[in-house]
């Protein structure tokens, strides 16, 4: 144990959260054998619980480690997280209150279920559902990395603490369902806010103020590079990265689950106003990357082993250890670790909801009704074990690359889910074709980047237009879906198979 005081505080916090996770099942208790109770908390979370839950869901441990690490390594481009978490809220406001109402009226608990109801096409829903599960797997794995980094920073040995933490996660996910992360997210967020506020006051004071911190950053990394002639350069790269990420965000199954568990459309709209409070916290957290530069932690021999093992991801843990008393470092690390457990639980539950409703009950056992919740619970545990295996047996770079691809894949469900809330212009098979082209092109372009970069320089009419691959390919996807819908609607319309009614969308 390198830091006994920090480790003790850390372990006490984790233990408290585990107790909370197991007792959560009894809170506003419903019939836990029903999937809407286990997998959606009974659709009864009010404005504040939804605020904590969705906040815990989308501002994850991976975000807290990866965004400052990007700032630390690459500079200004890492700040795209700020416009990203600004423009996602108008999208939340416009699309998801409508989706909530439709889902509640028809008993849908997943995005793909809405698509199946809308188009009467279980193959399209399968494609959307599998995309969600596949995009979620590396995301859970990266939550573990966030946790592994702080466990490593505390000097705890080997994989045992990580496996223990996730075994417990699997157990309370099984017993308490979505109520567990909902309750834990309240604790997590209080700890995170305390950490960030302390960091933003104490560290700049130690380093001589913000002007001094920015002055220590390499000037070439302080701003985006001015684009060369004939190119939109970093400008379009930055803007499309923010916009594409925002379009993809709420399509992730865990985000949809967080939203659908709200008690009504008004709760979601209110949260589109209130959730940006987390974005302010994220913007300050991002700046920890620059503080780590200014504090010179990378050159400090005490942290050399950590940087060697975890790369730039070690910037924030090293900064915290260097700047705070040990007991407070324990609180900060506890916050990050709990920040991994909350989204990991929601991701496992959301994937399980999709598995039972859009895959198993549609293609395997049609009369699964009585066993529905049990099968979902088992699948959730399977997802958690898979994520642990991912981290233990597969090189970390693959998880990072798959997460990068995951974002490009999940955005391909935008036409089928988000646009279908507004229009029934599309044909189900046309959407499936657009989805396939989008997935294929995005994967191919990412391969051209050697799965290392998210931005591809497109050359259009003599102008270089660097764009986030996800953003460019979802435009192609929507264009193909629209073009194919024209003849398909005329020749083989599937409009009669829409089980939703116009009143659902009012």
């Amino acid at each position: 144990m390198t830091y006994p005081a920090a480790t003790i505080v850390f372990l006490v916090l984790i233990a408290a959260v585990i107790v909370l996770g197991f007792s959560a099942g009894r809170w506003k208790a419903g019939d836990m054998s029903h999937i809407e109770e286990w997998g959606l908390g009974g659709r009864r979370f009010g404005t504040w619980i939804s605020w904590f839950l969705i906040g815990g869901d989308i501002y994850t441990a991976y975000t807290f480690i990866a965004i400052p690490a990007l700032m630390f390594g690459a500079g200004a481009i890492g700040f795209f997280a700020v416009p990203y978490t600004i423009v996602c809220y108008p999208i939340l406001y416009l699309v998801f209150p409508k989706l909530w109402r439709i889902a509640q009226r028809h008993g849908y608990i997943t995005g793909p279920e809405f698509v199946r109801g809308r188009y009467g096409n279980r193959w399209l829903a399968l494609a959307i559902g599998v995309t969600g599960i596949v995009a979620t797997m590396p995301y859970i794995a990266l939550q573990l990395v966030g946790m592994q980094t702080v466990i490593g920073a505390l000097g705890l040995p080997g994989h045992i603490p990580l496996i223990t933490a996730f075994a417990v996660l699997a157990a309370f996910t099984y017993t308490s369902g979505l109520r567990a992360p909902a309750m834990i997210s309240v604790v997590k967020d209080l700890l995170i806010y305390v950490t960030v506020i302390a960091a933003i006051i104490i560290i700049p004071a130690e380093l001589g103020g913000f002007a001094a911190i920015f002055a220590k950053v390499n000037p070439a990394k302080l701003l985006l590079a001015t684009p060369p002639a004939g190119s939109l350069g970093a400008y379009s790269g930055y803007a499309t990265l923010a916009l594409g990420s925002a379009m993809a965000l709420f399509l992730y199954p865990h985000a949809t689950t967080g939203i659908l568990s709200a008690s009504g459309p008004r709760v979601i709209r209110r949260n589109a106003v209130l959730l940006p409070a987390y974005s302010i916290m994220l913007s300050l957290l991002a700046l920890l990357g620059f503080m780590a530069v200014a504090a010179g932690v990378a050159g400090n021999p005490v942290y050399a082993a950590g940087f060697k093992h975890y790369g730039p991801s070690f910037a924030v843990p090293a900064l915290i250890l260097a700047s705070f008393p040990a007991w407070f470092a324990g609180i900060a690390f506890g916050a990050i670790a709990i920040g991994a457990l909350v989204p990991a639980a929601i991701m496992a539950i959301a994937s399980a909801n999709i598995f039972i409703r859009d895959i198993f009950s549609q293609f395997v056992g049609k009369r699964a009704a009585g066993r529905e919740t049990f099968i979902a619970k088992v699948f959730a545990i399977f997802m958690i074990i898979g994520a642990v295996g991912f981290i233990l047996f597969i090189p970390l770079t693959y998880a990072v690359q798959l997460q990068l691809l995951g974002g490009m894949w999940i955005i391909q469900t935008f036409p089928a889910i988000a646009l279908s809330v507004f229009t029934r212009f599309f044909n189900g098979w046309a959407l499936l074709a657009g989805w396939a082209v989008g997935i294929g092109t995005a994967t191919w372009l990412a391969a051209l980047n050697h799965f290392a970069g998210a931005i591809y320089p497109f050359h259009i009419l003599g102008v270089t237009l660097p764009s986030y691959i996800a953003f460019a390919t979802v435009l192609l996807n929507a264009a193909i879906a629209a073009l194919l819908s024209l003849p398909l609607n005329a020749l083989a319309s599937d409009r009669a198979r829409d089980e939703t009614s116009a009143a659902d969308y009012a």
Partner: protein
């Protein structure tokens, strides 16, 4: 009213406008304080739309 939501995208994605170091504020280069300031401003814009459209429902 919903045009205010469009304004959020314009404010947050106008990269050429805010990719500059000056004027600095409290030691923050313009690029950073502009985007941080855009967060509460956008939240207010969404709130104005919410208030105009708010209905009596859960």
């Amino acid at each position: 009213m919903r045009l205010l939501l469009l304004l959020v995208f314009v404010i947050a994605l106008a990269v050429p406008v805010f990719n500059r170091a000056t004027p600095a504020l409290f030691g923050f280069p313009f690029f950073y304080w502009y985007q941080i300031a855009a967060i509460p401003i956008s939240s207010v814009l969404v709130f104005l739309v919410f208030r105009a459209e708010d209905r009596d429902e859960p």
